[in-house]
């Protein structure tokens, strides 16, 4: 009798835990499979990730890999994975290297060059907007095409890769390192739509 009650209690406990986990999984986090190679080598096609829903905590956005819905009118709104490289109030110069407020950003995760066709030049980020780029700069559709992204447009940020097991682990953002001299935080200016000549510096 005692054993029967114990098993019942354990069963109920397990059911409750599974229910809570299911709710948490649905509300707090999302699971996605990576497709495409614009975030290599950090993310490889076929990686399974856990993302926390919503934008990264304010002030800790740099370097986070975020999921956002393709904002382009000609896009189909599917989820894109990109890395936050520019935060609200910053001025970014996009070209050979990336400069933040006049200082070169050291990006050990990035490789490849910005194609000349993509928007280059200075992008000033308004409050609540972010500049996101793929780590594979030569093959990524990102803020160089669709401009800065609003905080509300960020569906989630990557926290964990759980598959493949050999590459499983936490996905922590890198520490931001800047070279050179320049003002840390300039006055935020209005984002300007790239001019027709933007691709031809």
């Amino acid at each position: 009798m005692m054993m029967q009650r114990l098993w019942l209690a354990l069963g109920a406990l397990a059911a409750a835990a599974v229910s809570i986990l299911a709710v948490v999984l649905r509300r707090g986090v999302m699971r996605v499979e990576v497709a495409g190679e614009s975030m290599t080598p950090a993310l490889e096609p076929g990686d399974f990730l856990i993302l926390r829903r919503g934008a990264p905590p304010a002030g800790a956005e740099y370097g986070q890999i975020v999921a956002l819905h393709d904002p382009r009118p000609e896009g189909d709104g599917r989820l894109l994975l990109k890395r936050v490289v520019g935060q609200p109030g910053e001025a970014l110069r996009v070209g050979g290297s990336l400069q933040v407020n006049g200082r070169v950003l050291i990006e050990p995760y990035a490789h490849g060059d910005t194609p000349t066709e993509q928007h280059r030049g200075i992008n000033r980020l308004e409050a609540g907007t972010y500049f996101v780029l793929g780590d594979h700069r030569g093959a990524s559709t990102d803020s160089r095409d669709f401009g800065p992204v609003a905080r509300e447009a960020i569906a989630g940020f990557a926290v964990l890769r759980y598959w493949p097991v050999a590459r499983a682990g936490w996905l922590r953002p890198p520490v931001r390192r800047l070279l050179g001299v320049g003002p840390e935080v300039p006055q935020p200016l209005v984002w300007q739509t790239p001019s027709p000549d933007a691709g031809n510096p």
């Binding site: 497709a35 994975l81 066709e117 691709g199």
Partner: protein, 143 residues
Amino acid sequence: MIRNAIERLIRPTETAYAHCDLPCGVYDPAQARIEAESVKAVQERYQKADSMKSAAETVEDYRSRCLSIKEERANMVKEHLWVLWTDYFKPPHVEKYPQLHQLFWDATKEAGLSKKSQDPAQGEKLLGLIKQIDTIFWETKKA
């Protein structure tokens, strides 16, 4: 086998794309414009072959080179316009800008004509058509 079974079991239902629309989802009529400017510049040089040619070549040689380069550039204008026409512009764009098909038809035809024409005015006409496409393109980008 076990690995595959586990992978199937834990596979997320949603896909997120670390993607690049090859060719990078980047469209810009500036590419066609630059090539068309080359066409027009070559047409001008063709007319001034006497003064433009180097001492080592004859006027005929210089003009032959002009024609060869112009042929190539005019083809590139067509290529860039075709990419915009067939890849970038979508049915809603054509609904909003009903002149779009005719405009691309005229522009690509004009690019073809520039292979035969040595008149810079023809190159200018081509640039004018590309300018109209460019205006529509950037209006759709703002939308």
